[in-house]
Amino acid sequence: MSDRPVLPELPTLPTDAPPSEPARQLGHFRPRLLLHEDHDLCPGCGEPLAIRTLLEVIDEMGEAENTIGVVGIGCYTAFTSTMDVDLVQALHGRAPSVATGAKRMRPETIVFTLQGDGDMVNEGLQEVLHTAARGESVTCVMLNNGVFGETGGHMTATTVLGQRTKNSLEGRDAGYHGYPILIADLLAPLGGTAYAARGSVHDAPAVGRTKNMLRRALETQRRGDGFSFVEILTMCPTGWFVPTAEGPGYLNSVLGAVHATGELRNAERLVTTAELLQAAKDDAGRREEPLS
């Protein structure tokens, strides 16, 4: 028996209708640019969080009627029927090239791609590298969960060492499977890249930081400064074999320990993922030091 006091049973409050008292509505179920809330993605998926954030940024920038999205192949493709912006469905990994064509024909529009790590890094790595190197004024958004979620949770090129997937059940082994590709590190130093950042959706503050990154990326495109890229780490508890509630912690501690979050390129300022990891380590070390 625990000797901790038993807290009284707290009453739950009704939450099936808006409050009758005077109140200001701060948030709606769905962003304005999503036609309805239903989708078939697994419980605990991180992709709807990233898509909500992206749609909110487009709406807040007043570009809803002036945006063309190019969507790759992945679980997020389920949202193509409900996202209320003009969309083109591209073949596996080819979204940056399709976006290049859309932007060149309609230079006054905002053009973004929505791709996953399997789509961008495995299936179409050269497309995004060349688009960045050419300095195309498009924004590529990559949802990185380290697995091919849609086809059953297999290993991708961004799967981190030790991560369990359907075809690395003992964990990814560098000797057998090779090393993960840090795509943002490849894109950030290219001359055509004006903005590159890596965000995450593992908790509410991280979602807020990711939203700022998406806004800076789209503003970079609107100014015509060059290629912009935002990688967003998302949960895939189904693909990782973890309970949904442990998804955000796993994302932050396993994927986040390799794919560190932060801005890698902003105009001339260039930072590597290794430097972001070291800065996070220094920061954690400082916090553990006793206050003098």
């Binding site: 006091p5 099936d16 005077p22 908790d203 949904t244």
Partner: protein, 91 residues
């Protein structure tokens, strides 16, 4: 009787919830808990306890768009029983 101040509240789309529990640790004042009941799809869903601040963290982390967030113009007091009896501060 003790009272708890609520600066905000939420509405929850129970039937759409897939029971992932991401909102439970995301709530800064910890006023969400999972239900003992299940919705029509068979998932447990979050329930609201007194003390919501209307911060909107639940909305930001919900993959299934289950939350709407409101902030009261004047905070509301909820009676919650005798917390003072357990040695906590009387309110």
């Amino acid at each position: 009787m003790s009272t708890v101040e609520a600066r905000g509240t939420i509405t929850i789309a129970v039937e759409r919830c897939k029971g992932c529990e991401l909102c439970i640790p995301a709530c800064p004042p910890r006023v969400l808990r999972m239900s003992a009941d299940h919705n029509e799809t068979g998932y447990a869903y979050p329930e609201l306890l007194p003390g919501c601040t209307g911060c909107g963290a639940c909305l930001l982390v919900c993959p299934d768009f289950c939350f709407e967030v409101y902030q009261y113009e004047t905070p509301i007091l909820h009676e919650v029983g005798a917390i003072g009896d357990l040695g906590g501060p009387e309110s």
